[in-house]
């Protein structure tokens, strides 16, 4: 019975051995040596079969599902003995790569072809030298150990010398950096890196030395960036708007065929004061004669006119501090500001410097604020689809107290991609005034929606409560960018705005503009406006214009 069991167990093994014996196999032997010919003992040899010609070679490339998923080539390993020799028995004929690893040496790798005859291979390994790292295992080198050691030492010295020369050539002194660290301080003021009983966690600062070689360029760039970060940044925005006006309808006594020009220069100052806290100031000076001095339209034909307080005088337009809280989700801005800058920020019709120049296509006319003043804005932006804003501002610079001149706004905004269209922004706002004013409340919406990567549509609606009824305003238009333009960064648009006041006065305004971006800092725009007003009598004007803007 025992004999039967043994026979059953041995049977498959014999079949296996018999099948191996019938295949064409041979023996591969080898000897591992160093460059001097000395023996390297205990090396590990790996014999890796190469796929036959035409076969899929290797597993998939990441992220490339079309690659054939062939299994990795099989491998065999053997360990060399004390005499540096190794043997692979029963190796089928074919193409192989023989790789040999030994501690302290670079990997040796060579292709071999195995046929019917046994073959012997000599593998020569070169020492692995890592500058600055652990010394190569010179002791593993056989043969004339003393001479070899001398040579290795000399090579190491030369390597070190080369490294030193390279270091001096490219400014490679070890970098030092001050890091903010958290440590644990006990009652005896002993500092621990890890928590210990009775120790308090404290923040400290510590220098760290790192081995990073920097080029001169990197050093200079870092220094410039650090200097810029600490300096007060100054910006300039200078614009000249030249417009003509031709009367299209109305009383012949009204001005006709007139030319107008307005020059504006803004000086911006910005500085970082503390963590997440910055300061901004805008000083503006204007001079010239805009068409709004002669054409009594309900809205400003040149949006820059709103900034004109006194000719040729510097005016402090804005000066505020901004700080951010709660992971920078909440931003608070306080100081002298223009509250309408923070609300109804329509993407396609909100900037008289690069988009429409008519104020009716820059601001919602029902926002109803003409002057800057002291105020506060809070913006909560969690960077999801929603954002919220609320703010108030002094609306009358002559008021003796804020309680008689508070102008406040609140807005909720939402970003969406409806009906497979690109992104659109939708806003709903509410305004309230106190004091002796004609309108106490107003509401409005503002939409900018891209219809395609090139075309965007915008729309605004607003109404303000006046005794007995509501004044109403709306505007709409199209904006074009990234296509249908002469130069890649040009933009253009057409828009229409309408005002209907309870008093019976109405206005229809149409404008088209084309904005050439000549350089990063220079723009040239052509504008064409038509305004038709009914204020007791009816009058209309056509206004071609040129706007040249430099901003840096």
């Amino acid at each position: 019975m025992l004999r039967l069991r043994v026979a059953c167990a041995i049977g498959p093994m014999l079949v296996c051995l018999a099948s191996v014996a019938t295949a064409q196999t041979s023996t591969v032997t080898g000897r591992v040596a160093n460059v001097q010919g000395g023996v390297i003992p205990n090396a590990e040899a790996t014999l890796r079969a190469l796929p036959p010609a035409g076969a899929a070679p290797m597993p998939n490339m990441p992220n490339m599902p079309n690659m054939p998923n062939a299994a990795a080539a099989p491998e065999r390993t053997a360990t060399a003995g004390a005499d540096g020799t190794f043997t692979f028995n029963g190796v089928p004929a074919g193409e192989y790569v023989l790789m040999v690893d030994a501690s302290g040496f670079e990997r040796g790798s060579q292709p071999i072809t195995v046929g019917n005859q046994s073959q012997n291979v000599t593998v020569t390994l070169t020492p692995l030298i890592i500058p600055g790292g652990e010394e190569a295992a010179a002791a593993a080198v056989g043969g004339n150990v003393a001479d070899t050691q001398l040579l290795l030492d000399r090579i190491k010295q030369l390597e070190q010398r080369i490294t030193d020369l390279e270091s001096e050539a490219v400014l490679s002194e070890p970098e030092t950096r001050v890091k903010r660290i958290e440590v644990y301080v006990d009652q005896n003021k002993n500092v621990h890196d890890e928590p210990v009983p009775g120790a308090k966690k404290e923040v400290s600062y510590q220098r760290e030395r790192v081995y990073r070689r920097q080029t001169i360029n990197e050093k200079i760039e870092q220094a410039l960036a650090a200097a810029e970060d600490q300096s007060v940044k100054i910006g300039v925005d200078a614009t000249t708007v030249t417009q003509g006006a031709g009367r299209t309808t109305g009383d012949p006594e009204r001005p006709n065929k007139k030319a107008y020009a307005l020059a504006s220069a803004d000086l911006f100052f910005a500085a970082k004061l503390a963590q997440y806290t910055s300061f901004f100031a805008d000083v503006v000076a204007l001079s010239g004669a805009p068409p709004d001095r002669e054409i009594p339209s309900l809205t400003l034909l040149n949006g820059y006119t709103a900034r004109l307080v006194n000719q040729n005088e510097l005016n402090l337009r804005e000066a505020w501090l901004r700080t951010e809280f709660f992971g920078q989700r909440l931003g608070i801005t306080a100081g002298r500001l223009d509250l309408t800058n923070y609300f109804d920020r329509n993407a396609f019709s909100n900037d008289e410097t690069t988009q429409f120049i008519s104020d009716a296509l820059v601001n919602n006319q029902m926002l109803g604020l003409a002057v800057n003043g002291t105020g506060v804005v809070a913006e909560y932006d969690p960077k999801n689809a929603f954002n919220f804003r609320v703010g108030f501002q002094q609306s009358n610079p002559d008021a003796t107290s804020l309680s008689d001149s508070i102008y406040s706004l609140a807005e909720v905004g939402y970003t969406m991609t409806p009906f497979s269209l690109p992104e659109g922004h939708y806003r709903l706002w509410y305004r309230a005034n106190n004091g002796e004013v004609d309108t106490k409340y107003a509401t409005g919406i503002s939409i900018d929606q891209k219809l395609s990567p090139i075309v965007g549509v915008f729309g605004r609606y607003g109404q303000q409560q006046v005794p007995g009824d509501w004044d109403r305003y709306w505007s709409t238009g199209l904006s074009f960018a990234n296509g249908l333009v002469f130069n890649p960064h040009d933009t253009w648009g057409i828009g229409y705005a309408r005002m209907d006041l309870v008093s019976g006065d109405t206005e229809h305004l149409t404008e088209g503009y084309y904005n050439f971006q000549l350089t990063e800092r220079l723009r040239l725009s052509g504008t064409l406006q038509h305004v038709l007003d009914r204020q007791g009598d009816k009058f209309g004007y056509l206004l071609p214009g040129i706007r040249l803007q430099a901003s840096f």
Binding site: V170, K383, P453, P488, L518
Partner: protein, 398 residues
Amino acid sequence: MRNMKRIVILLTLAVVAFAATLTRVTVNAAVVKVPDPTKVVMIVNRDSNEIAFMDIDSKKIVGKTFLGNNVNPHMVMMSPDGRYVVTGGTRANKAYIIDAKTLELVKVIPVDIAPEHLAFSPDSRWYYQGNPEGDSISVIDMLSLTKIKTIPGLVEPLNTVFLPDGSKAYVGNYGAHWVGVIDVRRHELLKKIQVGDVPGVAKLDPDKYLGDIQGINIPQITNDGRYLYATDTDLGVVAKIDPREDKVDKIIRVGKQPWRPYMSHDGKYLITPNNGDQTISIVDLRTDKVAATLEAGENMTGVNFAAGKAFVISSTSGFVYVYDMNSLRPAGRMKIGTNIQLETATTDTKDEKLYLADSTENAVVIIDAKTQQFEKVLNVGLYPWGTHIMDSKDNYCH
């Protein structure tokens, strides 16, 4: 009796062979530090000049390979067959080859100047090491572990991508406005593909067009391997390249100064982070049109995809911006830290977690893509510059 002798001999041989196998397993277990190369995150520690290996499950560093002082490794990658880990030492002008299991440095190969990004051919045979300051690519044969050639004629080659069949490789030249096509059989520059036209007004703006050049970072290949998309940072465009004819099929205008394209894992979209206007452009690959342009952060260095979302790394702000890739809407912003610098990240193969290099904290930030919660693994090495996971779909560098 004779048969009995044979049986005894065979049994003895079998026992000896079994014992030898056991011994061999024991010896191997002593030196193998990474038994499964798919289970580790590789971390390039630029300032401690080493590659660290973090076990994905335990989040412990299981080994580090020191490369030498002042090496400053830039990008790490595992060969597709899982056999080697390689990196280019930017300041040492050398390529380093590490055994993926023992983590031993097996070869150091001199290459050209300032090696940074690299790529493997799909069959793991060729390791292309880009040398941006040498304007060349060093070709390393992974069978013999030797440099067999240097391909000249490139202009600040930043990234290389191989076709799935391994026949050609495409090189992004950051110092020019063309993509280089390499014949992989001969390792020669075959063709130059211009991705966009410099606008006519360029001569009015020498500060921008002559002062510096920011051309093409990488020609990114689609998941099916059919097309390549390459951004040109100066021109603000994405070019769709047909590799069958090596021609530009379409030019798509995106935001200002797009860094590079990142492919979503479902193959539907690509995203370009536009550092010029701090937005991202999401391009629909079915229509080749910009599906949405959304607000993002400053100095964006990477985009990862997981759990149906895109995670956009804003390097200097310390934020990761999140976008829902179904609705194409913003989905929040994660504050990783204050006064820190984030680098690049890799995503695990399950598309569940991101491993983000947080250089100034010497940490790797593990982000759970579903919950948008994160934890930091500190002291991974000095100035971790990038991470890599074998077979991840988001393996990239700056």
